[in-house]
Each structure stands twice: as C-alpha cells, then as structure tokens.
C-alpha cells in the first residue's frame, strides 16, 4: 500500500489535479485514522472532529504567520493544540455515558467553529486566513505539490505506526476492556477516565497535525472549512472502511475522496448517488469494507475448530 502511495503520485508528478486529490486523500486518511482512535478504540461516536482539525490548522497558520516560527514547530504546535483540545472534549464527556458523547462532541464542534468565526482579532473571522506559507524544512521551502504530498504521507505513516504501538500497548489493551465494560475495567484497576483522556489526547494530536498539513497545503483557511460536514464525512470514512480495523480508515478515506470525482458525470444527482452508495455499504457491510473482509477470512477457520 505504501509502495502504491509512493509510486502513483510520482507517475502523476506533472499533473496537478490528481496530485492535489492524492494529497487531500492523505490528509483525509490522517483524520480518519485519528477519529478511529475514538470510534474504533473507545467505541464512541464523535461529531466534533472538525474542531480538532480546525484548531490545528489555525494554530499552525498563526505560528508561522504571527510568530514567524519554522514550519516544523508550527506542526508541533498544531499537534499539541489538537491534543489539548482533545483533552478538553474528553474532560467534558467523562461524566456522561454512551450515546450522549455524540451530542457533547457536536456541541464542542459548533462552539469551536463559532469562536473561529467571531473572534475576529485572532482569526480574521469569516474572511479566513490567506497566504499561509508552504511548509519548509531547514529553511528550504517545499513549494512543489509533490513535496507537500510526501511530507503529508510521512506524517500519516508516522501517526499510523505510533497509533499501532499504542493499540498493542497496555493502554490499548485497557481501552478494549473499558470499551467492553467500564465496571469490569474498574474492577481490573483501570481508570476509564485515564484511558478516555489518553485516547482523546492522541486523537486530537493527530487531527491537529492534519489541520497543519491542510493549512499549509491549501494556503487558505476559514471557519467554513471546519464545519460539522467535515466531521460527518470523516466519520463516514471510518465506518465505511471499517472502524477499529488496520486498513479500514485508510480505505474509507481513499474511497470517499475519490468517489465524488468518479460521480462527477452524474452532476446534480451526484449527492443522491453518493448518499445511496454510503447507505448501501452501511446496510450490507455494517462492519465496513475491511471489517467484513476480515470476518469473511476468519469464518472458515472458525468452522474448522
């Protein structure tokens, strides 16, 4: 998969639009992997992911434009800001149970969007922030689309590797226990609060990084970019691909980035076809594409034993 992700864009080097799509897909994949830490990891549905994404984007832009920091530090600031925002969202939802998390995250997302829109002295309100510099490493600007693509891919791969590491760690094991039964997890000495806050901090950090990549790739951000639509789309990516599976969020992100392009010939009917496709996947593959494939592979073996 990594090989394909390297080779295909190289082949597209001269053509801007496919490369633009590929980079968008990578940023979406980062968001989907980040959200899956909450959805697949904790079993919680969040509709506030755009807020974490947006906070990362605005912080990164502010770090470079306002403070004149180099890109790498801006990226780190976006990650830290996302983590703090994730912790805030986590802290808000510790006292509530189950599905109410959806409402809290939805409210959280709206509050952040409204702050971005109305705190004009800081965010320039609805006008947005323009002229965000391209990423640069060691003083060398990476202006080319291909360069930004590989930078994004690098961040994505790093986040995937680290996420897998956490998932297989004692913390990841404890998360499985908390998701299944909080009371039983407590009886194992696990504090559900610690597990949830850790997961949301990591999820927020990854979403913040995605925000930074987005800001420097598009060079323009505004509150309109970080609406609940984005939260929903990323959630659909995770669920269509398969929450809690290794490749699911990646596949979901790829499908939902490319699908609108394939559906272009349908013009005004595009949203209907898109919606129908998503509904069909949800109905017939409730565990997502990867989740269903995995089950199909496991079943014959289970039948033998």
């Amino acid at each position: 998969m990594l090989l394909l992700a390297t080779l295909i864009p190289l082949a597209l080097a001269g053509r801007d639009y496919p490369l633009f799509l590929a980079t968008t897909a990578v940023i979406h994949a980062l968001l989907a992997v980040s959200l899956d830490v909450v959805v697949g990891g904790l079993g919680l549905i969040s509709l506030g992911h755009a807020a974490l994404f947006g906070i990362g984007a605005y912080l990164s832009a502010a770090a470079m434009l306002g403070l004149g920091l180099p890109w790498l530090l801006a990226l780190v600031a976006a990650g830290l800001g996302g983590a703090v925002a994730g912790l805030v969202l986590g802290a808000l939802s510790l006292r509530i149970r189950g599905h109410y998390f959806v409402l809290v995250s939805l409210g959280f997302g709206e509050i952040v969007r409204l702050v971005l829109l109305n705190w004009k002295s800081l965010t320039r309100g609805a006008d947005g922030v323009i002229g965000i510099p391209s990423p640069s490493l060691g003083g060398v600007a990476i202006g080319s689309k291909l360069g930004v693509y590989f930078l994004s891919l690098g961040v994505l791969v790093a986040v995937i590797v680290l996420t897998r590491r956490v998932r297989t760690s004692p913390l990841g094991r404890a998360a499985v226990a908390v998701r299944a039964d909080e009371m039983a997890a407590r009886a194992s000495g696990v504090s559900p609060a610690l597990v949830k806050l850790s997961a949301l901090a990591w999820s927020g950090a990854a979403a913040g990084l995605a925000g930074s990549l987005y800001a420097h790739f598009y060079t323009f951000i505004s509150p309109d970019v970080f609406t609940v639509d984005v939260s929903v789309t990323v959630l659909v990516m995770v669920i269509v691909g398969g929450a809690g599976t290794a490749g699911g969020p990646l596949l979901g992100a790829l499908l939902l980035t490319v699908l609108p392009e394939w559906l272009r010939p349908f013009r005004q009917y595009y949203l209907i076809v898109y919606g129908a496709a998503v509904v069909l996947v949800m109905v017939f593959l409730p565990e997502g594409v990867v989740g269903t494939l995995r089950r199909a592979r496991l079943r014959p073996r289970a039948a033998l034993t």
Binding site: L162, A174, A184, A185, A187, S191, P192, L194, S198
Partner: protein, 261 residues
C-alpha cells in the same frame, strides 16, 4: 487491627432502606461468609464497599484508611479486589490479556510511554506475560490462556474473574456468589481455591447461597436480613441460631425459601 471495617453503613433507595446502619469487620486472612435471603442487602453491601454506589451514611475503612466512596479501580490498586455475580469480561481480549489488564499499572503519562515504546517496555511486557501465564496455570486456566474470553464456558469465566481479581496481589477479595451456576466438580474446585487463598494469608469475603460451600470454607459467617446483621459467628453457631432460621424460613406458618444446609 481489622482489614476492612464498615461503620453505620446505610443505603436508602428512595423510601427503601437496603442497608441499615451496618457495622461489619473483616480481619486479615479471614474467610468471611455473607449470607441472607434474597433482598437482604448483600449485593448492596458489596457495591458500597467496592465504590460502585455511594452510601447514604456511614463509612468504610480499609487497611487503616477511610476509603468511603473511593472508585473501584482505586480500591483495586489499594488491594481490595472483587468479582461479579455474573462474570463481567471484555470480549475482544484473550484470557491472558484479561488478566494482563489487571496486572499492569497504568500511570497518568501512560500515553507517552506507549508512544515511546522501546526495549525496556517490550521486556516488561514479556515478564508480565510470563507471570500471568504461571498464575493461569495455577488456577487451572493454562490450557485456554490464548482463547478469546467469549469462548469460555461459564465455570471457567468465574475462575478467570477470580484470576483477574488476584492479579495484583490483593489483601482482600470479595467474591459475589463464586459458585452460582457451577457444577459440583467446579464448586469443589472453587472451594479448594478459596482455601488456598486463605492459606496464603488473603482475606476473603464471600456472598454465597450454596450453604455447603459457605459452611465448609468460612471462618465466620454474617447473616443479613432487611439490611441488618441478624447473626454473626462460627458457621456451626450461626446454623443453629433461631433468628437465622426465621429469616430464611419465616415463622411457623412458613415462607418458601429452603436453604440446603
């Protein structure tokens, strides 16, 4: 000095007093049976002591510390572990992993340690796994250590819950009906297990309806009825107590419950 001590422990659910001014102590290394008819307050008592629900009044002391309303996980770390009436295990984990969850302490900065990874961490993981595997062998779950918990039969689920409760070397284990739904063979295995825990110096507080089990392993028995202790003492003495008979069987005109003593 007592290991566990409740004073004036009271729990009211609306107008119903489930537990009424209950004072009870458990000594270190003691096996205590807690019996009583349905609705006597046994489960409420366990839930209050293990921090699942908050008392309306009264206090709980454990190892010379006021632990009233401490959360369950903090009590577990302090050495007070419990099992549930119906085993509560996490599907998605193997038998070994379920015990590992209880074995490994998670610090507040656990996320950073997990992200950093490293050799020391992998080494620690191997050590934990080895230790847990040995504990599982000892309790009779060695053969299914790698099995998903959802494939375990009921009796082994109970054993696994006990293994989980023991994972961090507690000083008091509260067993909520450890023999419920178990066959005679499994019950005798649990009996042996509880005796071996006692031999290691662990205190056990056990709610159980199987009188044979309670009478054969408990050092002392407390009988609850309507949220109060109506009798307490050595199993033989409690068995002969008229108040206990009355609680279970009712007065001469009779109730329906018959304990199989």
């Amino acid at each position: 000095m007592s290991l566990l001590e409740t004073r004036g422990l009271t729990k009211r659910f609306g107008g119903l007093t489930a537990l009424d001014d209950l004072t009870l102590t458990v000594q270190p290394g003691e096996v205590r049976g807690l019996i009583g008819p349905n609705g006597a307050g046994k489960s409420t008592f366990i839930n209050l002591v293990t921090g699942v629900v908050r008392p309306s009044a009264g206090s709980v002391r454990f190892r010379d510390e006021d632990v009233t309303s401490w959360p369950t996980h903090a009590l577990f770390r302090r050495g007070l572990a419990r099992t549930f009436q119906t085993p509560r295990l996490a599907p998605g984990l193997t038998v070994l992993e379920s015990v590992l969850v209880a074995r490994v302490h998670l610090g507040p900065l656990e996320l950073f340690r997990s992200l950093a990874g490293g050799r020391a961490r992998r080494h620690a993981e191997r050590t934990w796994r080895h230790a847990v595997r040995q504990d599982l062998e000892a309790i009779g779950l060695g053969a299914c250590a790698e099995d998903p918990v959802e494939t375990l039969p009921h009796g082994q689920r109970r054993l696994l819950e006990i293994a989980r409760a023991l994972a961090r070397g507690p000083s008091l284990v509260i067993l909520d009906e450890p023999a419920a739904g178990m066959s005679d063979v499994e019950t005798s295995r649990v009996t042996t297990l509880i005796r071996s825990l006692a031999a290691r110096g662990l205190a056990v507080l056990m709610v159980e309806h199987n009188m044979g089990l309670v009478m054969s392993v408990a050092d002392r028995v407390s009988v609850l009825d309507f949220g109060r202790v109506i009798a307490e003492g050595r199993p033989a003495d409690v068995q002969g107590d008229p108040a206990v008979h009355e609680a279970y069987l009712g007065r001469v005109d009779g109730g329906e419950a018959t304990p199989h003593a």
